[in-house]
């Protein structure tokens, strides 16, 4: 009996590699590395496999939860020329880092033309490197200003007409309420700093395409000072709450949902999360009725805000054995119907404006029009191959928020990041 089992095991071990070879003769199986979601990307993969009618199959592999770990895994695999990566869901700030060394397969012109049609500008900007579209815009995210109608009313503010940071800080302070902002030492802090600097008319990196030792930072400027003033004030006067130095997007949502919630800048997932809380009975029904939304707050009264941009674009691996099929599949994935489905079911906004006309989307997101407008106004984070250094360097110097000083922080962070990029300092 034992001998027979042993023979069977050896036979299986010898035949298994042959089975793998035989897989190559059928339609190619494309592996799509996805970021974790509520199963939407797996469903789209299934739909596109059906639509391909035997031309290819798409299987999905899930990447780690946070964007930085996703980047680490993809960059290391691509540096080792991993041919199993056909399609990958990429966080926009990391696209240049993968495009610069040629880790992304060049996009055929006709594909670039097809996937740019009706797509919001923010998504196109974020998927472009050195004037070439290098990734296919999939979904596009942006932060809105979420407000408690009761608080705004008492302060005499109409956020839908546009408000400044100063106005919401004063309103929260006067009513002894808390602001929902992300002060944790994490990517969300970079998102905040970038939105403030861009809204004040500046840029964190002035020449994003430069090499590491020539990168010029724009933090030590009036825009950098304006950003530091806002963050420092919220950190010091307590309007961010005691949890501010460790507050990420989820933590600020919890603050906003609480009794002392007032205004919050956050991604649209908070809407579906709050509704889910009400349905589960953990949050009161009145809360949803008291929540309003508007475009991100301005830094200067006369200047439109540049809200944060996020989302996912699809890259095709340069070492994939099926580049053409992968681009074909990517076009299917970002189809308007799939984007509308993804937005309505998984809560991630579409990059294609046509998807916003879908009745499913309109029902799930009453603020769909504001999201679309915000995406048009949004500014991506610095598009540089050294984004990780810039972002981590910012987090080192702008954290905790209470320590941010407009006279010193922008200058110090500028010098520190420059030294890191030149290889003269550790991060």
């Amino acid at each position: 009996m034992r001998r027979r089992a042993l023979t069977a095991a050896i036979g299986l071990a010898l035949l298994a590699p042959l089975a793998a070879c035989s897989g190559e003769s059928g339609p190619p199986t494309l592996t799509w590395y996805t970021n974790p979601d509520d199963g939407g990307q797996a469903e789209i993969a299934r739909r596109c496999t059906d639509a391909a009618d035997g031309a290819y199959r798409i299987s999905t592999e899930v990447l780690p939860r946070d964007a930085a770990s996703q980047r680490e895994q993809l960059a290391r695999r691509l540096a080792a020329k991993d041919s199993s990566i056909d399609i990958m869901s990429l966080d926009p700030p990391f696209i240049p880092e993968l495009a610069e060394p040629g880790f992304l397969a060049p996009m055929p012109d006709e594909v670039a033309e097809a996937v740019s049609k009706d797509v919001v500008q923010g998504a196109l900007d974020a998927s472009t490197w050195k004037d070439e579209l290098v990734a296919v815009p999939f979904w596009a995210n942006t932060q809105l200003l979420w407000f408690r109608k009761s608080v705004a009313e008492e302060a005499g503010l109409d956020p839908e007409k546009g408000v400044t940071w100063k106005e919401i800080i004063d309103a929260a302070k006067d009513q002894d309420k808390l602001l929902g902002v992300q002060g944790a030492k994490a990517e969300s802090l970079t998102v905040w700093v970038n939105a403030l600097v861009e809204s004040a008319g500046g840029h964190i990196v002035e020449n994003p395409e430069a090499s590491a030792d020539e990168v010029k930072l724009g933090l030590d400027s009036d825009a950098g000072k304006a950003a530091a003033e806002i963050i420092g004030e919220i950190g010091r006067d307590g309007t961010g709450g005691a949890g501010l130095p460790t507050a990420d997007e989820n933590a600020s949502m919890v603050t906003f949902q609480g009794d002392r919630g007032s205004f919050m800048v956050n991604w649209p997932f908070v809407w579906s999360a709050t509704n889910a809380g009400v349905e589960a009975g953990t949050l009161p029904k009145e809360l949803v009725d008291d929540i309003g939304w508007a475009i991100y707050p301005r830094v200067d009264e006369g200047e439109d805000a540049r809200p944060p941009y996020g989302g996912i674009s699809l890259g095709v691996g340069a070492f994939s054995k099926h580049v053409d099929a992968a681009y074909e599949a990517a076009q299917c994935i970002v189809g308007v119907d799939n984007q509308a489905f993804y937005m309505a079911t998984n809560g991630n906004p579409a990059s294609n404006t046509k998807a916003y006309d879908d009745p499913q989307v309109k029902e799930a997101f009453p603020m769909a029009d504001v999201i679309r407008q915000s995406l048009e106004q949004a500014a991506p984070r610095p598009q540089t191959p050294y984004y990780n250094e810039v972002s981590t360097g910012l987090q080192e110097t702008w954290h905790p928020p209470a320590s941010v000083n407009p006279d010193t922080t922008p200058k110090e962070s500028s010098e520190f990041i420059t030294a890191v990029l030149r290889g003269e300092a550790l991060l």
Binding site: E72, R76, A242, P245, T392, G423
Partner: protein, 321 residues
């Protein structure tokens, strides 16, 4: 083994050497068999430890970024110069040393107490007691780090509410917003998790203390403390030193707790995290390898100090001395 016994002259103090001079065929065959049995494991160990160490040494001499493979440049000891002249490195080293000293000292005291309890417990309780004490050690470090993080977290944690009667603790205390409080939670989690390990090693040492000595001291009228300080501790010095050495090496390489709880925020960056952030986060293989090599040298230094200066005898702790 048996050959040694046969060739040993009565009273010979160094059986190993005496045996070497006239090794029988059987002894040689046994030695050969030993090599055949241990050889593959030894080769695997070389492949998975020595090779990466040599590779890291080599990489540390280059300016090499994983996403710019063509720009690799030989810089000699340049990376070491950058690391050793940077305050971030020295800050991380200091924090690592602080965590190592604090946790090892506290663990030694608590571990001793637990070992005594396990040693003296009545037979019927012994099994359950040992299991209970060992539970934290069986938990994966990342899991325990998350558990401690959520316990102290300002939003989800219960510590602030349970202990708000303690001066300094209030619902508004954000443990992970300052260096002192962050390090307190990191150390507490580390101590909770690894004290059982040290207590196990000490329990093995306690078992080696001859009961006759203790009984003799008791008959001579020694107090409990005298028996402990004069009889028990001196007789298990080797076990204590081995426990301290093992834990110190382990604590010096602390990573998980810091990574999960603060990710190095508020001056809590430790050496392992710095090496990780440079090699894996920034993909700067050259600079990161230099930090890893320095971390390795620090570990060797700790071993050297323990073995040469404090004369830790690893063999005697196993009862071979």
């Amino acid at each position: 083994m048996s050959a040694d016994v046969e060739t040993r002259a009565p009273g010979t103090k160094e059986p190993g050497r005496a045996g070497k001079a006239v090794r029988s065929d059987r002894a040689k065959a046994e030695a050969r068999l030993g090599w055949w049995l241990a050889g593959p494991a030894f080769v695997v160990m070389l492949a998975v430890t020595l090779y990466p160490i040599l590779q890291a040494l080599y990489d540390s001499l280059f300016q090499y970024r994983l996403t710019a493979p063509d720009d690799q440049k030989f810089v000699g000891l340049g990376n070491y110069q950058t690391v050793l002249t940077d305050r971030v490195f020295w800050g991380a080293l200091l924090v690592t040393l602080l965590i190592t000293v604090v946790t090892v000292v506290i663990e030694l005291v608590l571990g001793f107490a637990l070992a005594l309890v396990m040693h003296r417990a009545i037979k019927s309780l012994r099994g359950i007691l040992r299991t209970a004490i060992l539970v934290p050690y069986g938990i994966i470090t990342v899991v325990s780090a998350f558990a401690w993080f959520y316990m102290f977290d300002i939003q989800s944690g219960f510590v602030n509410h349970w202990f708000d009667w303690v001066p300094g603790i209030s619902p508004d205390l954000n443990w992970f917003a300052q260096q002192g409080t962050s390090l307190f939670v990191i150390c507490a989690s580390e101590i909770w998790k690894t004290t059982p390990f040290i207590s196990l090693l000490l329990l093995a040492g306690l078992a080696q203390v001859p009961t006759e000595l203790e009984e003799a001291a008791e008959v001579d009228g020694a107090t409990w403390w005298q028996r402990f300080a004069r009889v028990i501790v001196p007789n298990m010095k080797a076990a204590i030193m081995v426990a301290v050495l093992f834990r110190a090496l382990d604590a010096f390489r602390i990573f998980d707790n810091v990574f999960i709880m603060t990710n190095g925020a508020n001056g809590t960056t430790v050496l392992s995290l710095l090496a990780y952030r440079t090699s894996i986060g920034r993909l700067e293989i050259g600079l990161g390898s230099a930090i890893s090599v320095l971390l390795f040298l620090c570990v060797i230094l700790i071993c050297f100090i323990a073995i040469k200066l404090f004369k830790v005898d690893l063999a005697s702790a196993r009862g071979e001395g």
